[in-house]
């Protein structure tokens, strides 16, 4: 029988609902009964009778790549636990969902928590973890309660706790709430936070979580959506799952579209089987009446911006060059990377011709200045400088040299920091300047030379002036 969705929330015909199968369903709720009625926990029952190595093999065969941001193959990550390890192994579900533009894990947690817990339990069994944490952002208070209730239900039914499903495998899962800091999404910052400290990311090497993670023990950190996929991989078999999507870009993923489109929202697609045009024009109903496309950020705010009129020249394996417009880009990992950006967390932010790029960049730079953890000088100081300069540009108080200065600052962060936040905060500035330099400079005024316009620096300069 066909699944019924709430009116106005029906999936688009070009969607392929696997992870979001139960999101916005009419007859659905997050209870254990409802989940069990549709084959819930059957894959966990099967998993505990398998060899853990065999599950890892299935996940490798499936080609699943992490949905949290970096797109790293999940099965491969799992094999990084040192083979002669004698310490306890931990698994952490990254439910920090804080990359601007991303809103998918929210719906899994609120509407289908048992899918996540089943996926997690299977993954824990595969990597040999007996204790796992769900690190959920503080701004999901209801989500944390729903997960806690689901965990309690799973305990009652013997899907968690001692001797899961009659096996001799034990597992406990706890919910751990963050406290409003974006950097807790970075896996080593997350681990520090879970240890009760400031979430200062750790330097890699040596602190790769799979070797030296939580309490310096091997730790696997995976995104909510990634862990849910594991359940479906086991159900379908890795090889069958790999037929979804395109080569090296297998499976489905949830694309979240926000900004200047008629129907913003979440759309689950086969990776690479749907183009940007199909997402924006067909699924989201196109741009607003009378507007035209200006730019798209394709993978969360940290991904480099794409300009509407760019032509992307892609080298093909046979040496030839294929030209793509922004509309032709398949929504996968590799092509978006070849176009100079990244698929990241799946957050697509669309901007039309009414948007000022100085204003957009300024909004993002305010975000990064607020969220830098402050450990590395280039990132701590640079993100603040970028905010201050772009504040000036957006306010019309900058000089043309400020744009150059802004670009210089960005390039002094990228590649020189402990964690990938350095890239995340400098890529927006680097790409907005590379692609919209003329527009930014047009907003400046060479007559402003030598004047101080930041409130903070004015305040700071006042006592100095008095002593002169």
């Amino acid at each position: 029988m066909a699944i019924q969705y709430k009116p106005g929330k029906e999936p688009h015909p070009k969607e392929h609902r696997l992870i979001f199968r139960n999101v916005d369903r009419v007859d659905w709720n997050p209870s254990m009964e409802r989940f069990l009625a549709e084959g819930g926990y059957e894959q966990l029952k099967k998993a505990v009778t398998m060899e853990p190595k065999a599950i890892i093999e299935e996940v490798k065969t499936s080609g699943l790549r992490g949905r949290g941001g970096a797109g790293f193959p999940t099965g491969v990550k799992w094999t990084f636990i040192p083979p002669n390890n004698t310490k306890p192994v931990y698994l952490i579900c990254n439910a920090d969902e804080s990359e601007p533009g991303t809103f998918k894990d929210r719906y899994i947690i609120h509407q289908d928590p048992h899918q996540l817990i089943e996926g997690m339990a299977i993954s824990c069994f595969a990597v040999g973890a007996h204790m796992a944490y769900i690190y959920i952002r503080e701004e999901f208070p209801e989500g944390a309660q729903i997960l806690e209730k689901a965990i309690a239900e799973a305990h009652e039914k013997g899907f968690l706790g001692k001797g899961i499903c009659g096996s001799n495998y034990d597992l406990e899962i706890y919910v751990h709430r963050g406290a409003g800091a974006y950097i807790c999404g970075e896996e080593t910052g997350l681990i520090e936070s879970l240890e009760g400290k400031r979430p200062y990311p750790r330097i890699k090497p040596p602190y790769f979580p799979a070797a030296l993670g939580l309490y310096m023990c091997p730790t696997i950190v995976n995104n909510v959506e990634s862990l849910c996929h594991v359940k479906h991989i086991l159900e379908m078999g890795g090889a069958e799952y790999a037929k979804l999507g395109t080569p090296r870009n297998n499976g489905t993923r949830i694309v979240c579209v926000s900004g200047d489109v008629q129907r913003p929202g979440y759309y689950e697609i086969q990776v690479g089987k749907v183009t940007m045009s199909e997402v924006i024009r067909d699924m989201c109903g196109g741009l607003k009446p009378g507007r035209s496309l200006k730019a798209i950020i394709p993978g969360g705010s940290s991904a480099k911006v794409l300009r509407a009129d760019e032509v992307f020249k892609l080298k093909q394996p046979d040496g030839s060059v294929k030209e793509l417009t922004i509309w032709d880009i398949p929504m996968d990992f590799d092509t978006i990377a070849q176009c100079g950006s990244m698929a990241g967390s799946g957050g697509v932010i669309v901007m039309d011709d009414t948007r000022s790029m100085a204003w957009v960049l300024n909004n993002l730079n305010n975000f990064y200045a607020h969220e830098s953890c402050g450990q590395c000088t280039p990132c701590r100081e640079g993100s603040l400088w970028m905010k201050k300069i772009s504040d000036r540009i957006a306010a019309g108080n900058a000089t043309p040299e400020d744009v150059q200065q802004l670009e210089n600052v960005a390039y002094q962060i990228d590649g020189k920091t402990i964690c990938a936040f350095g890239e995340a905060c400098s890529w927006p500035t680097e790409s907005f300047i590379a692609k919209f330099r003329g527009e930014l400079i047009a907003q400046t005024d060479s007559g402003k030379q030598g004047k101080i316009f930041n409130r903070e620096s004015q305040v700071a300069a006042a006592p100095l002036a008095a002593t002169r």
């Binding site: 963050g178 409003g180 974006y182 240890e195 009760g196 400290k197 309490y215 579209v257 932010i349």
Partner: protein
């Protein structure tokens, strides 16, 4: 600062989630205390430190780092408006303005270290938050633990009407 027995019980239960290191319970304990008292006062920092066998600074440095912990009392209803790009494009700055006007809140003295402004009657307080992971339905905001989507400025009266008690 007196902690009721029910809260103490929750605190002891939370500590059991971290059998390897009590220190891991810093955030959960601070959450429980903030949920009860509305903010974290110095005495609470000492309480958590003693409970988890830590130095007070190890707790205080957590309180001061995370935007989710407050050291001053918020209003009875604490509003967080998403400031980040998609919501800003949908009108979240205008929403902030309209909420401040309707509640009589003056945000001119807020800054990075003091982000919260309280209404003269102490009923409402407000701050900007960064992306709340619902960018497709902006502008979004939270009032205490409740989440609200598509709150364009014209919906301000309707939103505040829900919080009149």
């Amino acid at each position: 600062m007196t902690l009721p027995p029910a809260l103490l019980e929750k605190i002891d239960e939370a500590i059991t989630h971290y059998p390897v290191s009590r220190r891991s319970a810093v955030l959960p304990l601070l959450h429980l205390i903030q949920h009860h008292f509305g903010y974290i006062e110095p005495e609470a920092v000492h309480f958590v430190a003693e409970k988890l066998e830590l130095q007070p600074i190890q707790v205080l440095e957590v309180v001061t780092f995370y935007p989710g912990f407050r050291q001053t009392a918020p209003g009875k209803y604490h509003i967080r408006v998403c400031r980040t790009l998609s919501c800003a494009m949908a009108g979240s700055y205008e929403l902030m303005e309209s909420l401040c006007q309707a509640t009589g809140i003056d945000r001119s003295h807020t800054d990075h270290h003091h982000p919260i402004a309280v209404s003269p009657d102490g009923k409402f307080s407000i701050e900007f938050a960064e992306c709340l992971a619902s960018c497709g339905s902006g502008p979004v905001c939270m009032v205490n633990d409740d989440f609200h989507e598509a709150i364009t400025p014209d919906k301000t009266p309707g939103l505040l009407a829900k919080y009149q008690g």
